[in-house]
């Protein structure tokens, strides 16, 4: 059975304009490498499908064993004008925890 990112990471998610950004934090330093292998722009684009229309950036923070994910054009126009209920993307980031982890023993 494959492991999911939810086992090794925490998430906090929010918005800025039409951008959704979220931090993904390794629960332990030894999980950071697996987190880096798992949370990639390509896999994020694939997971979120047409909810994310723009570029996806993943920024490393080696000092706190975390990454910050920035998804552009990801809120259906931004908090005031989006047709989604989750206007400020508080929930959206948690979906990342569905990603299967590569190479976790």
């Amino acid at each position: 059975m494959s492991h999911l990112l939810r086992e090794i990471a925490y998430v906090r998610s929010g918005d800025k304009g039409n951008i959704c950004s979220f931090g993904v934090i390794a629960k332990a330093p030894e999980h950071y490498d697996a987190l880096l292998r798992t949370v990639t722009p390509g896999r994020i684009k694939q997971l979120y499908g047409d909810f994310v229309k723009g570029a996806v950036h993943v920024y490393r923070l080696d000092n706190i064993h975390s990454v910050n994910v920035v998804m552009e054009q990801a809120l259906g126009g931004g908090a005031p004008s989006t047709l989604r209920l989750d206007q400020t993307a508080k929930s959206l980031g948690n979906a990342i925890l569905r990603l299967p982890i590569d190479g976790l023993s």
Binding site: K16, G17, Y48, G49, Y59, I64, E72, A79, L83, N94
Partner: protein, 454 residues
């Protein structure tokens, strides 16, 4: 001269709990209590209130907050700094003065910081050839939408707050200062720093702690991924920042309060609503979050050190708010058996009603509540039969009348829809004010400070 400044959070947003602020002011031995009341959209809403009534447009809660807290703050020598002036800091300041007089706080000084509001100067800026392209999309046609613009506020730095404190203000109220400005200002004032390269790292540290504290309980257990193990979240203590002259800081909360402060609560909030962590662009400076060292140094106590940063940027963020049509929405729920089948049929039925009513929509969005409303395409369809499911529809229109048709169509389904459909109260159409983020040269913004006395 102090070597450590003690600051506490009094509010993380307009709507936050007041009791943790009262508790913290009473027992926290604070030099300053800082309040953030503004979100991206708030300025546009407040500006619209001000257009209807020139005496409105500030965060009304700020007066009630100050009324509750000023007597205790004066007794303890704590200064209160907020951005609750919103689109009308001057009137907010006057109301706070009136409130202070009623409380008998004679001589209390209220500093009003203005200069963020560029609405009346927008035409001048455009005429000068200052281009205001959309920060995310690059679109450059704001002039074409000029008649729909309702607000234009720059995110200003903390220099107005510093000036107000230098002139003896006990309470400071500002407009759209950056969220961390109410923390950065007092720190810069206490240590006498200026915005030069020599102080860049230490100011970056002040911005970082401001960022951590500005959402109040969000760094002491609120919003936590570890909610299941978080103690007494409804009684969470608001954060205390002990900021040292050398640019290190400790973050903690009152003993006995709910929630927690540990490496996880701090990491989670450090990463909240930021872009590139090496360039956290703020009006007072640019911290590099990849430089920060975090250490748990005691129960509910985290130390921050080694923070690096660059001096303040030459441009300021400006958010222009403009009227952008209407949204009509509705929600209905379906029971087992075959809840999903009913929801699908209701969706088809709604689309038939929209067509019959001649709905002119810019966009129509459907969600299955309980299946994919929050995660959209990232959520797999369930492979088991649901007990119940909801259908949510939201439609963007140009006019209120068109948005009203969405409500009517949803009401039509009370009888025209699948058997077993249940409804709450139909939702009223709501007007949309969209945000146009852009940059302006720092030089076009001039802050002014006025001290009012009770």
């Amino acid at each position: 001269m102090k070597d450590v400044v003690r600051l506490g959070a009094g509010s993380g947003f307009w709507g936050d709990a007041l009791d943790p602020a009262v508790e913290l002011l009473e027992k926290g031995e604070l030099d300053y209590m800082s309040f953030d009341f503004l979100a991206e959209l708030t300025m546009a809403l407040l500006q619209r209130q001000k257009l209807k009534d020139p005496e409105a447009g500030y965060v009304t809660d700020v007066v009630a907050y100050m009324q509750t807290l000023m007597p205790m703050a004066r007794e303890r020598g704590t200064k209160l700094i907020s951005n609750g002036g919103g689109a009308n800091p001057r009137t907010a300041g006057k109301r706070i003065v009136e409130s202070a007089r009623k409380l008998g706080l004679t001589g209390l000084k209220i500093g009003v910081v203005e200069g963020d509001d560029l609405l009346s100067r927008l035409d001048e800026l455009l005429a000068e050839g200052i281009s205001l392209p959309h920060l995310e999309t690059g679109e450059d046609n704001i002039a074409a939408m000029r008649n729909r613009v309702v607000s234009a506020n720059a995110y200003i730095d903390s220099s107005g707050i510093v000036e107000a404190l230098r002139r003896g203000a006990d309470v400071v109220v500002t407009g759209r200062v950056s969220d961390n400005g109410p923390y950065v200002g007092p720190i810069m004032h206490e240590f006498g720093w200026s915005h030069d390269a020599e102080h860049a790292d230490r100011i970056a540290a002040a911005i970082t702690v401001g960022h951590l504290a500005e959402c109040a309980s969000a760094v002491t257990g609120g919003m936590s991924s570890r909610w299941a193990e978080m103690p007494r979240m409804g009684e969470a203590g608001f954060p205390i920042i002990e900021f040292s002259r050398d640019g290190t800081a400790e973050i903690t909360k009152l003993p006995g309060t709910g929630g927690r402060v540990d490496q996880w609560t701090v990491k989670e909030h450090l990463l909240y609503e930021i872009g590139d962590p090496r360039n956290y662009l703020m009006p007072d400076g640019v911290p590099d979050f990849t430089s920060i060292r975090l250490d748990e140094v005691g129960p509910d106590r985290v130390r921050l050190s080694e923070i690096r940063g660059r001096p303040q940027p030459d441009t300021l963020k400006l958010i222009i708010g403009y009227s952008d049509g209407w949204i009509g929405e509705g929600m209905m729920f379906f029971p087992w058996p075959d809840a999903l089948g009913r929801a699908q049929k209701a969706k088809d039925t709604l689309l038939e009603r929209f067509a019959r009513l001649g709905l002119d929509a810019q966009a129509i969005h459907f969600d299955l509540v309980g299946v994919n409303m929050l995660h959209g395409p990232a959520a797999p369809m369930p492979d088991y039969e649901l007990n119940e499911v909801g259908l949510r529809v939201a439609v963007k229109t140009n006019t209120r009348d068109e948005a009203e048709k969405v409500r009517r169509a949803c009401s039509n389904l009370w009888i025209m829809g699948p058997g077993g459909t249940s409804f709450g109260t139909p939702m009223k159409p709501r007007p949309v004010i969209s945000c146009w983020p852009t940059l302006v040269p720092r030089s076009v913004v001039e802050q002014s400070v006025d001290i009012l006395e009770a």
